[in-house]
Assembly symmetry: C2
Homo-oligomer: 590 residues x 2
C-alpha cells in the first residue's frame, strides 16, 4: 500500500516537488477526505469535489500565497483549505469559533480575499494586480470563478475594466454549467459552443481566451498553468468540470449534493434527519404560491439563481413562463419585477436578505420610488447560522424600514406568512410590499389552514399582562413565548406583525397601558425596529421605559443558529434573563 | 416663411402623418427649442440634443404610448417630453412642483418607466415584454440606452436574460462614446469596431444586431424603425450619434454641455454666475487629493463614471494610473478598492450617495466585513435639488451607520473635509471610513489652510449655551448657526462630526448639562442619526427631551436646494421656528 500523503501536508511547498503520480495520489486522497468530512460535518460538497484537480494544480504551479489566489463565492475552497494548513480544523467546520466555510483573510494568508457572495473575484484580483503595478511587485493574481458567477453584472463590470488594462490577472473559468441550480442565461449557452465562439466573446472585451480544457485532467492542468505562469496581462482559461466529481450520487444529483447535509460517504445515501412534521418557511412560500398561481393569472415569481433554496422548484416546473430563474442577477431581478408590475402583474421577487443588498438601489429607484406593487419575499432574514457573517440577514429591517411607501411585514409563523401571501394575491397591493422570514423550519406542525384574507398591517396581542410588555418582531415571537413560559410574571406579549407602516393603534394601547416595554428582533439594533419604536414613543410624548434586544453592532460569525441565538441572548433563556433584569431594574426605579 | 409646427403638437399622432420635409422641420424646431429652454432654465442639454432625430423617428413610427418606450437614465428625454404634451411645462423645468428632469410615470403615460439612474431600461422593458406575453398583448417595447449605460453590470444581466427569451424587446443603442465623461471600458472599444465585431458580440448573447447607423439621418432612422416595427423578439439597433448635436460649442465641449447651466443659445457662451470666491465641496476633494497624492504613493482614487462631477479630472490627468474612472460600475468600483486595500494601498472611492446604493452589498461584504481601509467619499449626500427624488442622498446615513467597523464622518465645512482627508492619508486608518458631503458650494471663502492632523472621531462645541442644545450633523452646522443667530436664547450648538463611532464623551457632556436637545440632519429621520442619539441616550439612562429634525418619511421631489430645505423646515428659518416651538414646549412642561 502506498504511503498516504495528505496527512503530512501543511503548506503547498510540501507537494510542489511531487512527481505526477504522487500529485494524482494527492488528488485522490483530497477528494476522499472532502467526501468524508462533509458527510460527517455537513457543508458544501459538490463545488469542492469539482475543483480538486484544479486546486492541486494551482498550488503546485503557482507560488501561493505570494501569488494571490481568489476563490469566487468560496464554497469550493475546502480542498484549498486542507492543503494550506487547515486540515485538522475541519472537525469544527462551520461551527462557532471553528473553521469558516468560506475563505477568510482572518483565517489564513492563503485566503487572499474573503468571499461568500458571488462574482467579486475579478474585481478583487484586478485591484490587487493594479496595486502590484503601483508597488512594482511581480506576482500572479488568479481568480477562480464559475460560469454562473461570471454571468453576474459585477463580474462583467470587472471584465470590461480589466480588458482596458495590462493588469496581471488570470481568470480561471470553472465551467460546470451549474450554480446551486443549473446555470441560466445566454452566456451559458455561449460557453457550451466551440472555442472560437468563446474566444470571440472574450476578444470583444480584449481578454485573451484559452480553452476549453478538461478540468479533471491533472497533467493537462499542470501543463496549462505552467505556461500561464510565464505570461502576464489579462487572460482567461476555460475549464470544463463536473460538479460533485468522484461521488456518483453527487455527480448525478448536483443540486442536492451542493450542500447535502450528512450522508454515507461510500454510498452517497442521504441521512435526512426527521423533522417531526415541521415545515421550512421556504416550503411554505413555494407551496402557497403554487396554490395561488392556480387561482390568479397575474402572479409571477422571480428568483436570482436560488430556486431550490427558495422552495420554488415545483412552481418553476409547473409554471415555467411565470416563475423565472434569472441567474445571479439580483439587480436585474428587481427591475424586471418593476417592469412587470407597471403592466398590472404582481411579481413575487424571492431573494435572500443579504443578496437583496445587491439590489438595494433597484429596490429604491425602480420599485419603491415608483410605488409599484412588487412583493419582495426576503428569505434567510435573520441569523442563518453556519454560512456565517457574509450571509447573516441582519440589516434588511434597517435598510428597508427607512424607505417611504414600502409595506414591510415580518410574519411570526408559517400560517401568518401563508395568509399574507394569500391576501396579497387576492387583494393586489397598491404599492411595494416586503415580507421577511427566516431560513429553515418553523415551529408549527399544521400550517396549511384554509386561505383567509387578513389585515396584515395589524399587530396581535399574543398574551395579556400588566406592567411589562414584550413586542416581538416576526418569528422571534416563538422565542419570546418560550421565555415568558419560563417566567412567572404577568408579562404581556405583542407581535408587531407589520414593521411599516407601524400599527399605531396597537402602539398607543401598549404604551399607554404598560410602564415598560421590551422589544425583540432578529436584526441589527442600530437603526432597527426597537430604535424606531423608541423614536415613535418619543415623538408621541410617551416616556415609558423601553429596552431593545437584537443583534449588537458587530458582525455575527458562523455557528449553528441555536448557538448564535444563545451567544446573542436571543434564545428563550437569554430573553428570559433580559426580562428578569428589566423587571428588577424597574422595581429599583420604583 | 414656413409655418412653425412644434407649437401645435400635443401628441405624437399630431405628426405621424407628416411628410419627410415636415418631420425634418420638426426636428430642427425641437432642437432649437431644447437649446432655448435649457439656456434659460438650466438642465441636461447634450444628451437631448443628440437624440432629436431619434425621438421624432421613434414617436413617428411606433404607436406610443401603447408601444412602450423607455429612456435609460432619462436626461435625454426633453424632446420626448416636448412632443408628448409637456412643452408648456418647460417654463418650470426641474423646479418645485414643476416638470421633472427625468421621465416619470406620474407625469405622463408616455413615460413608461421612471429613470434617473442608468442601465435599468433593458430590465424594465423585458419585464413589460414578458408581461405582454403573459397577457396576450401585442406591442413593442423599446429601450433607448447609451453606450456608457449598457456597459454597466445590471444592463449585462438583462441582456444575458433577454437572450434566452423570445421577448419582444428592441434595444436602441445610442452610441455617442460618452457618459457624462467619455465612456471607458473594453466594450466601448468593441463598439468602435466594424459591424461584424459587434454582431458577434451580441450574437454571443443571442441578440440580433443591426447597425451601426447614423443616428442623425432622419430618413434612415424612419426606414430602420419601420422595418423593426414588423419584427419581434430580442434585437438591438446600433446608432452612432453626437452628444450636443446642433450646437457647436456643445459638440465641441461635450462634458461641460452635459448640463451647462445658463448659456447664450446662439453663441453657446456659458453664463457662469459669480460665486463670491466660494468653493464646491467637489473641488475641495479634488484639490486636496491632488496635494496628498504628491506626498503619498499609497493613495489611489476610483470614480464610477463621475470624474467631472466629483472634481477629479485634474487628478486623473496628473495621475492616470492612480486615479481611475471605471465606468458606470459602482459594484466593481467598490470591490476593486477592496482588492487594492488588501495590498496596503489606500483607495479613495468617490461615489454619489444614491449611486453607492448600487454597491451596498460590496460595501458590506467586500470592504466593511473584511475591515479593509477604503475611504468612501460620499458625494451628493443630502438634498441635491433639481435632479429630484432619484438623486436625493437621504438614505446613506441610515444604511451606513448600521454597519459594524465602519467609521462614518460628516464634515461640517470645507476645512474639516480637507483636514479629514489629510489625516486619513497621513495616518492610514485601520479599517473602512466614509465621509459624506453635499453637492455644491460650501460657505467658506478660505479653506486651503495648512494641513493639520485632526482627531476626526471627536465632535466640537461651536457655541456655548444652557438649557437647550442643538446637535447638528455635517454641513447642517451652517443652517443651525444661522438659526441660532436669529434667536436671542442662549442655546448651545454642537457639531457631532463623527457619526460612527459616536463621540460618547461629548454626548455624556451634552446629555448631562442640558435639559433638551434638538438634532438636525440632512437625511432620513427613520433610522437616522437623531434616532440613534435617542437610542444612545435611552441606553445610558438619560431621560432628557430629544427632538429630531431631518427628512421625513417621504420621497423628496425636485426643486432648488433652497426651496427643498425650506419645505422641509431645514433652512435657517425653519430650524429657528422648530427651536422656538421646542423652547415653548419646554416652558409649558416646566
Amino acid at each position: 500500500m502506498t504511503k498516504p500523503l495528505l496527512a503530512d501536508i501543511s503548506h503547498p511547498r510540501d507537494f510542489r516537488s511531487f512527481d505526477p503520480l504522487q500529485l494524482q495520489q494527492l488528488v485522490d486522497e483530497l477528494r476522499t477526505e472532502i467526501i468524508q468530512v462533509v458527510s460527517e460535518r455537513e457543508g458544501h460538497l459538490g463545488a469542492s469535489l469539482g475543483v480538486v484537480e484544479l486546486t492541486v494544480a494551482l498550488h503546485t504551479v503557482f507560488d501561493t500565497p505570494n501569488d494571490r489566489l481568489i476563490w469566487d463565492v468560496g464554497h469550493q475552497a475546502y480542498g484549498h483549505k486542507m492543503l494550506t494548513g487547515r486540515r485538522a480544523d475541519f472537525t469544527r467546520l462551520r461551527q462557532w469559533k471553528g473553521l469558516n466555510g468560506f475563505p477568510s483573510r482572518e483565517e489564513s494568508s492563503f485566503d487572499s480575499f474573503g468571499t461568500g457572495h458571488s462574482s467579486t473575484s475579478i474585481s478583487a484580483a484586478l485591484g490587487m494586480a493594479l496595486a502590484a503595478e503601483q508597488q512594482g511587485e511581480d506576482r500572479q493574481h488568479i481568480a477562480v470563478i464559475g460560469d454562473a458567477s461570471i454571468a453576474s453584472g459585477m463580474a462583467f463590470e470587472a471584465l470590461n475594466h480589466l480588458g482596458t488594462t495590462q493588469a496581471n490577472v488570470l481568470i480561471v473559468l470553472n465551467d460546470n454549467a451549474m450554480g446551486i441550480d443549473p446555470s441560466v442565461g445566454a452566456l451559458k449557452d455561449a460557453f457550451a459552443q466551440n472555442s472560437s465562439e468563446q474566444s470571440s466573446l472574450f476578444a470583444s472585451l480584449n481578454i485573451a481566451y484559452t480553452g476549453p480544457f478538461d478540468g479533471h485532467d491533472l497533467p493537462l492542468l499542470l501543463k496549462v498553468f505552467k505556461e500561464q505562469k510565464k505570461q502576464k496581462g489579462p487572460r482567461l482559461i476555460h475549464l470544463r468540470t463536473v460538479k460533485g466529481k468522484g461521488l456518483a450520487s453527487a455527480e448525478k444529483n448536483q443540486i442536492v449534493f451542493h450542500a447535502p447535509g450528512k450522508f454515507d460517504p461510500l454510498t452517497g445515501k442521504l441521512n435526512k434527519p426527521a423533522k417531526q412534521g415541521k415545515t421550512k418557511f421556504q416550503t411554505v412560500v413555494g407551496k402557497t404560491l403554487m396554490a395561488l398561481f392556480a387561482e390568479h393569472d397575474h402572479l409571477m415569481a422571480i428568483s436570482p439563481a436560488m430556486p431550490t433554496g427558495s422552495g420554488l422548484v415545483a412552481l418553476m416546473e409547473r409554471y415555467p413562463n411565470r416563475c423565472l430563474d434569472v441567474g445571479i442577477a439580483e439587480q436585474h431581478a428587481v427591475t424586471l419585477a418593476a417592469g412587470m408590475a407597471t403592466q398590472g402583474l404582481l411579481p413575487f421577487c424571492v431573494i435572500y436578505s443579504t443578496f437583496l443588498q445587491r439590489a438595494y438601489d433597484q429596490v429604491i429607484h425602480d420599485v419603491v420610488l415608483q410605488n409599484l406593487p412588487v412583493v419582495f419575499c426576503i428569505d434567510r432574514a435573520g441569523l442563518v447560522g453556519h454560512d456565517g457573517a457574509t450571509h447573516q440577514g441582519v440589516f434588511d429591517l434597517v435598510f428597508l424600514q427607512t424607505l417611504p411607501q414600502l409595506t414591510l411585514l415580518a410574519p411570526r409563523d408559517e400560517v401568518q406568512l401563508r395568509q399574507q401571501l394569500y391576501t396579497l394575491a387576492a387583494v393586489p397591493p397598491k404599492g411595494p410590499v416586503a415580507i421577511r422570514y427566516p431560513r429553515g423550519y418553523g415551529g408549527l406542525t399544521e400550517w396549511e389552514l384554509p386561505f383567509e384574507s387578513i389585515d396584515y398591517t395589524k399587530g396581535t396581542c399574543l398574551k395579556e399582562g400588566k406592567g411589562t410588555a414584550v413586542i416581538s418582531v416576526g418569528t422571534m415571537a416563538e422565542e419570546v413565548s418560550e421565555a415568558l413560559q419560563q417566567l412567572e410574571a404577568p408579562i404581556a406579549h405583542y407581535d408587531l406583525g407589520c414593521i411599516k407602516p407601524l400599527d399605531e393603534a396597537l402602539l398607543h394601547r401598549v404604551f399607554t397601558r404598560f410602564t415598560q416595554v421590551l422589544t425583540v428582533e432578529e436584526g441589527s439594533l442600530v437603526g432597527g425596529v426597537g430604535s424606531r419604536l423608541l423614536s415613535w414613543a418619543n415623538d408621541h410624548g410617551y416616556s415609558l421605559k423601553i429596552k431593545s434586544l437584537g443583534v449588537p453592532d458587530d458582525f455575527v460569525s458562523h455557528g449553528s443558529p441555536a448557538v448564535l441565538k444563545q451567544k446573542l441572548g436571543l434564545d428563550a433563556s437569554g430573553i428570559a434573563a433580559s426580562i428578569r433584569t428589566f423587571l428588577t431594574e424597574d422595581e429599583t426605579c420604583n
